[in-house]
Symmetry: C2
Subunit: 360 residues, 2 copies
């Protein structure tokens, strides 16, 4: 029996994708080889690779001004890789802190230069606020402004993306990439680890505007230097071929679902159902301001936290898994990525109501 998996990542994948991957494991399209076994330079994998890039470009409507790269190291890797690639001439950047992940990004950037905090969404209740552009205090001529557009741990999503003129905006979109259409032209760089909405852990998508490819520090490792990666079509070093294949299967699944506009409608429905359930009750609480509530990661707390273990045990007994909140904030968290079906959220809210009725 398949469970309903609310993991924050690595996370649920579409069953269709997993079935196809299993079917093709020993023999991809009559090649006599599994995808894991293919040379990354051979025609079979080159086809997989280029289809994945084309499908992603189409899904996200990536403009011709931007390149799509496949790297390794995930979001935490990018925390260093971004300054290594953009601090070549101006070793300073501004950070908008909306939660735990942007905090980490700012701290790591300090290794490579100045990392000015332009705004913070921390309140007495924790990270509950996404500062609007009017609250950002930018420094003089930064190399870029960094923003984590969806904070996985804190459940804070930023929906309004300002125009910064000549200052490149760099977005960590790891946990909501592909959840809705985004205007890529607004970003200098947008990146995301795969293990939420893209596929399996082990590949990082980096979308970078071409004029930013020439700003690396001299000691940026070649395998992580965007310019080198771009010049080699993401094959400067052996790419994580199977992770790219799985991502490609997810992209095709997304296209069958109707693309990002259709998936956004489903994501809104799922998130609304869950937030409505929380808001209708005094038994559960979510502290994030409404305009910044994440559609992907929904943290919530039981008013009576002594019941946390009971809640989790009862959920597990029904096949509702991975609902424990991140250790740094406690409580519960339901991650409801693209591949989590509406039925999972329906089963969760039904359980929440029953648990409340029993214990309120």
């Amino acid at each position: 029996m398949r469970v309903f998996n609310f993991s924050a990542g690595p996370a649920a994948l579409p069953e269709e994708v997993l079935r196809q991957a299993a079917d093709e494991m020993l023999d991809w399209h009559g090649s006599g080889m599994g995808v894991m076994e293919m040379s990354h330079r051979g025609p079979e994998f080159m086809q997989i690779h280029s289809e994945a890039l084309l499908d992603l470009r189409e899904l996200m409507q990536v403009p011709a001004s931007h390149q799509i790269l496949f790297l390794q190291g995930g979001g935490i890797g990018e925390n260093a890789i971004v300054p290594l690639n953009l601090f070549g001439t101006k070793p300073r950047a501004d950070f908008v802190i909306t939660g735990s992940w942007s905090q980490k990004s700012q701290k790591e950037a300090l290794k490579y230069g100045a990392a000015h905090i332009a705004a913070t969404g921390r309140t007495e209740a924790g990270f509950t606020h996404s500062p609007a552009r009017s609250e950002w205090k930018l420094s003089d001529d930064p190399a870029y402004v960094h923003l984590c557009t969806n904070e996985t741990i804190d459940g804070v999503e930023t929906f309004e993306i300002p125009d910064l003129g000549d200052i490149p905006l760099v977005a960590d979109a790891s946990s909501h990439i592909l959840s809705r259409p985004m205007d890529i032209a607004k970003y200098g760089v947008l990146y995301g680890g795969a293990q939420k909405n893209i596929g399996m852990a082990g590949v990082t998508v980096v979308i970078v505007r071409e004029d930013l490819l020439d700003r690396a520090m001299a000691l940026c490792p070649s395998a992580f230097e965007w310019k080198t990666v771009a010049a080699n079509n993401s094959m400067y070093n052996t790419p994580p071929t199977y992770a790219i294949y799985i991502a490609g299967l997810v992209f095709k699944w997304l296209k069958r679902q109707g693309g990002l506009t259709a998936i956004e409608a489903r994501n809104i429905e799922k998130a609304q159902l869950l937030y409505d359930t929380i808001d209708a009750s005094s038994f559960y609480v979510n502290k994030v301001e409404r305009r910044a509530r994440s559609r992907m990661n929904v943290p919530f707390f039981l008013a009576d936290e002594t019941r946390n273990d009971d809640f989790l045990a009862g959920a597990k007994a029904r096949g509702l898994l991975q609902l424990k909140g991140h250790k740094s904030v406690g409580g519960m968290r339901a991650s409801i990525y693209n591949a989590v079906p509406l039925e999972a959220v329906q089963a969760l809210v039904e359980y929440m109501k029953e648990f409340e009725a029993k214990h309120a």
Copy 2:
């Protein structure tokens, strides 16, 4: 029909491993989740992860003085990650050049400090020689000596590993790790990308002596700083979970084969059969000195290179794939890693003899 796959990497995997992975794709051991979907912090994946580490330690007889890390970025990533981790106090190292890969390692290290060439195996015929210790001209007090113990492109393997006393030896063993027992105590660091003998592309195994964990440069990215990775049991950032799972299945397959002593005997038999066929003929030639011939990667040339395309087309028609040599050296190359069965080599030499009989 499965082909015989002589790819240099990503490369053939054991059928048993692929079958098990396919069987478990949607539901690992009754968990209701596939391995790709599991939180890396959950008990299911923690078990997979710790078993992989234990099995690898047992297979390679890794002493307690050394830690085993799982990183990302492959061998080319390590070309930067090694100096970033070892140049903290002494930004200089020595390189023994045995082929194309050690050349790349030396060049990348120049970004971070001095990279002295202590010896080279290049001859008029290309890289055909592995310099003995007596030929190494070490500099004064280097941070380490780097050696690529098996050169995938040139087919040069180093079997005699000298004792360097207090100078740490750093080995890129990407393309022959797990092919035979190695005395890990002789190495300060031994690393390898997974896509030859370990599993699928996307995870790098780094075995590092504990006293070397404290020598990183200040600007080493946290996700690639061995000390940080070690302190977090290779989970500082989200690890490439599925690649670790596949590696773990390969480790268990290797144990069922009888471990590294048994696999070495099979690898000797396979390599001997192929080299004997080459040496018995004037139609085929391998230029590497006999004591340094790789058991994993066997480059060979047709005396009449105008027949190269014919040779490859005929091989393909028999299901003998990926025999084209690396573009930098030309000719042919048969990579005969652990998962390539003796039957594949038998089929290859049979074809080589027939091709020779027809065209000689």
